[in-house]
Amino acid sequence: MTQLTLPMATCKRRLAALWFAGAGILFFILLIQTIFGRYGERASDAWSWFLPTIMPTLSLVIGVMVMEAIGRKGRSVAVDPFLFRLTFGISAAYMLAVLSIFLLQPFSNVPPFELMNQANFWLGPFQGLVAAAMGAFFVKSPEKKTLPG
């Protein structure tokens, strides 16, 4: 029986597209809010909260992709589709969770900064899950050396 697999490169590209698209949307929402004075004098607090939610993973993704782009192309590695779908789903859910803080705050009785502080309680562990899943795709594994002879 043939087991279906996905090429690692394809998985990486799709995950990178999700992260950059999601981060881009979040970034521009916050940028427009800052320009129009949504957070008043505390705009820096809003950015201080937002950047650590996406930058670590984004930095990892772009760093690995750049290294692979300028490095030697190795053999293509096959990935279990379940792992890819799981990682993609967790990443999408994480993006949605961060986005919901911005989009749903006008309906909430909780002031925006208090909501951001509360969100740290569940975004923190969530981000840990995301990082662990993304690590399977974006952590460079050591190349196997073949012995001579």
């Binding site: 004075g37 949504r38 957070y39 309906f107 909430s108 009785n109 002031p111 925006p112």
Partner: protein, 284 residues
Amino acid sequence: MDVTILLLVGLIVLVVILPPILFVHIFLYVQKKLGKRSAPRRAILYLGSIPVWLASLVMIVILRFPVKMDMIPLMKREMAAPAQREAIPRFPWPPPAASSFMTIPLMDFLDRDQPSLDEANRLLRSAFESAGYFELSYYAVPDGFALVSRVERIEPDGRPMAPPHRWEQGGAELSSFSLVGYVRSLFLAPPGYYRLIVFLLTPHPFAQSTRTVSREMAESWLRYGANALPEEISREPYSERFICTALIYEFEKYDTRRDAILRQPGRLSAMAHIEKSEIWRNLQ
């Protein structure tokens, strides 16, 4: 010297000083029976036991008779005017600076030829209640009274917000959904607007003081006022010499700030507030 005072002093000495002394002697007696007694320990015991006993007494008194912080202004008011416990509290005089104000020709709205302050009060109260203001408080002002409403949340144009948001302090920004309203709330920082209305009836002209009032202080006016007008005030005749003044205290609160700020001058005129709250229509 009065015997009662002597007994009281003696009782205080017994309660405050005697127990630690007794404690030290009992402790030393027991120690002597069990082992050797050393001289320096007696002084330490005396020095230590008296403050410990006094601290325990203070804790017992505090725990037995707790004083709530919000009772303190009430207590101060009672202490300041002990002979007037039967009368209603006095409104700050001259009144703190308002966001806007106007005089109301109340005489034109009263039916009787020679009305009393009670009739004027009933008219104002009826106008308030018809507009949804059911929580009102009374204060005394020179030869008259003040009628204070509850702090309410209002729309930018001065209309009261729909319940339950009207009486919320810091509720959700969107009381009803509209796309424009949602986009505004998402990208802008629309503040919450709050209002308190005070009607002052007095024959004495006044100038508002330079003091300002916080939203918390304005909210406390409702809590600490009287629930009804006393008879000695209500039976006074109401004549043309009385001036009915509406003081509007308008507050703004941004959700990026902890406190609401009093707007001076207000965004809207006093007439706009009185009209939008529907009090003007109910007075006529």
